[in-house]
């Protein structure tokens, strides 16, 4: 591709082709922000973030905690009058920020997601205790204690496994993944 892409075009390309309308269709009605259950915890409302993307404010967008606070509940997507898949936009921004390594420092999401992915590559299944280090220390002392208490209770009730399971055809599985992206050593 000859010309350099603007930020808004880059993001548009990241959204999977078959669904939703492009974000340049947004006429800033605010339905998404009004429908969002997590908006109180975002520094920019979803509508505002879309406005910022369309204005190519790349640094501000990536520095926002909005898209990492998205629970992907799709309430915005089903109501958007311009039929933009906003939840998918949030996914795209997450992927972009991990690719660029650019996101607010104090966030748990990026490290957690990367650990999650590595764990799947290693075993084919998810195993909670392995993920704990990626977030547990960010909760502060009280949070850490609370989490430990919950974990203990679960272990006593037999609901928390102490050992990870691996899928049987793990080698095939890993070769399968390498055919999509050459992963190198996890």
């Amino acid at each position: 591709m000859a010309a350099e892409l603007t930020f808004s075009k880059e993001i548009a390309n990241l959204m999977y082709a078959t669904h939703g309308n492009p974000i340049k269709d947004c006429f800033q009605c605010g339905t998404c922000s009004a429908s969002c259950p997590a908006v109180e915890f975002m520094d920019h409302t979803p509508r505002e973030l879309i406005g910022m993307i369309n204005a190519d404010l790349k640094e501000e967008v990536l520095a926002s905690n909005t898209y990492w606070s998205c629970a992907s509940c799709y309430n915005c997507t089903v109501r958007c009058p311009a039929k933009i898949d906003i939840a998918d936009l949030m996914y795209s921004l997450k992927r972009y920020s991990i690719w660029r390594g650019q996101y607010p420092e104090d966030l748990i999401g990026p490290a957690f997601s990367e650990s999650f992915v590595k764990m799947i590559v290693r075993t084919g299944r998810s195993f909670e205790p392995v993920l704990a280090p990626s977030y547990i220390f960010k909760y502060g002392t009280r949070g850490l204690i609370q989490e430990a208490q919950t974990a203990t209770a679960l272990v006593l009730k037999g609901r928390l496994p102490l050992l990870p399971t691996k899928i049987k055809r793990l080698e095939n599985f890993q070769r399968m993944m390498k055919r999509i992206i050459p992963l190198g050593e996890s």
């Binding site: 629970a71 509940c73 799709y74 998810s126 209770a153 679960l154 609901r159 399968m176």
Partner: protein, 294 residues
Amino acid sequence: MKQYAYYPGCSLESLSMGYHLSAIEAARGLGVELKEIEDWNCCGATAYFHVDELLAYTLVARNLAMAEKEGLDFVAPCSGCYKNAYFTNNYLRQDPELAEHINFALEADNLHINGTTNVRHLIEVFVDDIGFEEIKKNVSRPLKGLLVAPYYGCQLLRPRKDGEDVENPQFFEELMSAIGAEPVNFASKNRCCGGSLIITNRKAALDMVHVILHDAEKNGANVIATICPLCNVNLELYQHQVNREYGTEFSMPILYFTQLIGLALGITPGRLGIGKELVSAAPMLSYAQNVESR
């Protein structure tokens, strides 16, 4: 016996063992066999989609391909797994280039996907395939006196698949009526529980859980029925944290819909995995007549 390719998902292995047990028991009690897919892998939940889309679809496709091999419909009890599988299946059907790319990867495990299986959520099996009439016929211990708040959550309903009602569906309420319980209408029935935000943005998730608990309790529910292990975990395991954060005193039992169906079919609570909750279900069980509590 009608068979389905059953995909439990990572959460059902131990954390939500109750869902797994009750699903199989309740289904069997109504003439349906949930045949677990052999050597299934994690669907990627939401975290995988935060990192790489194509890889995430591939993870899902491996499981779909195995269901196709059995020639059975793919059934997921977890809304997250269900949503991933449903839409991956759709994209593979619509986009031959994507299918080609993914099939190339699947070959490494001697698998191939054609898009011939159908993806169902476990609750659809009860509501659409088995049907309310059949369920009513088999209920031996109707849960009279039980006020159930049916919590749909989000990813069962959204994104829209076929123009269905995502704002005020009634099928979960009707299912609860069919087993003799009284469904309680509450506004947050399809409001997000926070999902994985419980890890990555705990404050937000606790707020979302708080709203749901508050609504259900206000409308008189004595139990919340869930259809997804993440919703269940968020509503149940973190209730005490919500209480601490907001100064509330919730002790709302959270049970899976299959556990309730199982009780109504006369299956003992132990076989349905009831008894391992952090928020005890015992008080709720005594509301329902004819059911011994543990």
